[in-house]
Amino acid sequence: MELTLEHRTEGDTTVLDVAGEVDVYTAPKLREKLVELVSDGHYDLIVDMTKVEFLDSTGLGVLVGGLKRVRSHNGSLELVCNQERILKIFRITGLTKVFPIHDTLEEALS
């Protein structure tokens, strides 16, 4: 299972669907995508991680990097994640305090 990335706009927000494994091998692809979105003027991002099968600290680092980028444009980066095994690593690293995390995309959009 590799990493697939697809984005679409919903009103003023850009939703990035992430599916597969985000690890030290695939994270550069996610980083490039986030850099590209921000340089194309997408400053309000929702990263939907519902279909993420694996995420480690390299992936967390890329998300934090994305957050810094959108914030430098007064933007936002929120997450959708309802998988306990992934929420756990946000909790252990203290990043639940850094990212708004929603159970569903609907909740994130509202």
Partner: protein, 135 residues
Amino acid sequence: MYMAELRVPRDPMYVGLVRLVVAQAARLAGVPQDRVEDVKIAVAEALANGSDRDDELGASPPVEVRFGRGTAGFEVTVRGLSQPPPATADDDVVDPAIDQLDPKLRFTLIEGLTDEFSREQDGDLMRLRFVVGVT
């Protein structure tokens, strides 16, 4: 106490492979599925340790992973290059384009996900060992 040993080049390409084989060995050893997920992340973190060094990949020693059912549970030991010493105490030196968390978070994660965790510096190398209980 049966241990298997896997030695791979220090290349991100192999990280998925190591995760796969250690996870499967954990299942065989009786680690419950939700803890197998913890093992996978812990292994990834242990392998990522030192991955921010700019040594030529080819010149690096291979990463050695030993794993199997030990007395305390399913044991994994990863031996490879350790992370570089912080160049300076000034945080601003870190290039923000690199998007890396504090490398120490890797240890926090391994510690939070496993039942036993220790690390040992040995010159340029570091040995990380962790254990996850079996049923």
